[in-house]
Symmetry: C2
């Protein structure tokens, strides 16, 4: 078997408890003994058995993030990727490990998440809002099990902590950027009416439009879904209408591409005649032609903050609900890079 705390104790001529105290900086140990023990540990190449430790402490020093393997969205999403890296970074820094686990429940009836929690295998959990089931979250809350939701949960009465980007601010930032580039008739193409983030972005869009006293046509706010075809159809309608916009904010890269292509097809030059902007910075926005100006979020930071707070919950056992909305920033590219400003 491997080297145990007892072996170290024997080699240093002390009791196991003393070694344990040195390991954990608990109690008062004399300089001299301390040195002897370190010496012994080095000689024996002692590494504490984390399983035994976790078991004895009743805490494994592990957090988990729930994912949905069958969710094709998450696959392609660099968003998710970066976030995980941020989470790992924060966890690592506090001496926690990160388990990634599928959230669908399995045959035995007990979902893997529940199993991790009840089985004491994790100290806390990060839960994407999209996977959130109301019942599950309340169960967590009743047990006051540490949890942070990634993205704002739609059920507004929940007490859970969460992190998200500030979608309202993002909507405003989008308008403000376009305004600064001389666009005055700004439309919004959303990829879903129900989604909270779209609602919030549109709220921000409205606010900024009103604040700047710009034209606000209700038909400029249109909902479709994320597809090139649908996107083009929507944009075509906009550009064929009486009140033509001179710029558009799109929910995602696909819609932005659709907008660019449709506008071009109709003879608009981009960015001079028509500006296009979208949410989330990705390889597509970077490599499109023209490059697409995007509203970017520091998802790494989002993940880091989420994990940091989760760990605070775990260690301080404080279950006060806590919210963070991260500010976005614009990554400027050619799709809004007007040289000659439109009518001022």
């Amino acid at each position: 078997m491997s080297v145990t705390i007892r072996d170290v104790a024997k080699a240093a001529g002390v009791s196991p408890s003393t070694v344990s105290r040195v390991l954990n900086n608990k109690g008062i140990i004399s300089e001299e003994t301390c040195e002897k023990i370190y010496q012994a540990m080095r000689e024996l190449k002692y590494v504490p058995n984390d399983m035994a430790r976790s078991f004895a402490n009743g805490s494994p020093r592990v957090i988990a993030i729930a994912i949905n393997v069958s969710d094709a969205q998450a696959f392609a999403n660099t968003f998710f990727n970066r976030m995980v890296f941020g989470i790992e970074t924060a966890a690592h820094q506090s001496g926690y490990n990160l388990i990634i686990t599928n959230a669908t429940s399995d045959r035995e009836g007990l979902g893997s998440i529940e199993r991790l929690i009840m089985g004491k295998k994790i100290d806390g959990i990060l839960f994407p809002a999209s996977l959130l089931q109301r019942s599950f979250l309340t169960a967590l809350e009743d047990n006051s099990f540490p949890c942070v939701v990634l993205g704002r949960p739609s059920a507004s009465d929940l007490e859970a902590s969460w992190v998200d980007i500030d979608n309202e601010q993002a909507g405003q930032a989008a308008v403000n950027h376009l305004y600064s580039k001389g666009y005055r008739r700004i439309a919004f193409l959303s990829n879903g009416e129900k989604e909270l983030f779209n609602q919030d972005r549109i709220a921000g869009y409205r606010k900024a439009i009103e604040k700047r006293r710009l034209a606000l046509e209700e038909i400029w706010i249109c909902h479709t879904n994320s597809s090139l075809q649908k996107g083009r159809a929507s944009v075509r309608q906009l550009l064929e209408g009486n009140e033509k916009p001179d710029a558009i904010i799109c929910s995602d890269e696909k819609l932005a591409l659709a907008a660019i292509r449709e506008a071009k097809a109709q003879g608009y030059r981009i960015p001079d005649d028509f500006g296009v902007l979208c949410f989330d910075d990705t390889p597509v926005t970077e490599l499109a032609e023209p490059g697409i100006t995007s509203v970017d979020v520091d998802t790494f930071e989002l993940g880091r903050l989420a994990a940091e707070n989760l760990i605070r919950q775990i260690e301080r056992a404080e279950k006060s609900s806590w919210r963070v909305q991260l500010t976005t920033h614009i990554i400027e590219r050619d799709s809004t890079g007007r040289k000659t400003h439109g009518k001022e």
Copy 2:
């Protein structure tokens, strides 16, 4: 405290060992006792403490995947994403959890990976070839610690198990596809000379070219790095030379875009005058105009296989080295979608 195995035993009127045996299907237990115990477990809502279990067994039923947080490549890479999902799926199926951990070593001198291993917190590890340090791997091997490398390790004398795509086959498949579309003068634009995968793909390219007795100009194989500018420069040179190719295989999406743009700029129509194909299927290849034909890999499956084998290593304690090279397939899009074939 929570419900323990002893509580269940008491409620069922048996000894803890019997309950344990029921839990693990070990030994022979009478139908009747079994029922009593299940009954008790249900009533008490008993969930075994996994930490205690792991500790007692000396195996946590956890595997890890090493990542490099500071590696910007991995971020954007949907490749990695999908693979992790495949890994999680396989792990989950065998009752293992997956830890994601950064591979850089920290201040204390003991890297996090080593710590996980020595601390008995994981049973096995998946290691991206790109993060592989020779010394580390041999250390693992000396300890015969279960390990599977993701991607073929460059040090050929290593005994480690690994999974990768079959890059040579991929190179051949690329040529064959272009050939079937009527292209006969096929160039290869690589994003790095040293990379093993490029070498292998080029080897496959050569084989297929020779097999089909196509023209093979050495200047058609050119190395650059992954940037639009460099890519365009390389393609320009090719198209301005005496021996002009009529199609090109690119290492990645960026180079493919570069090729498309340069060819277009020179008046070539795509795909009719010039075919473009690249490795890895991504949102960019899908959304480009024209859509880019790509050589796709089932990275989910790659991850699944890797994890599956790792777990086999763990459970059977068989340390025979094992290699898998996954076959790729072509995702056909417009960039090679010639209607009128070239000279046959």
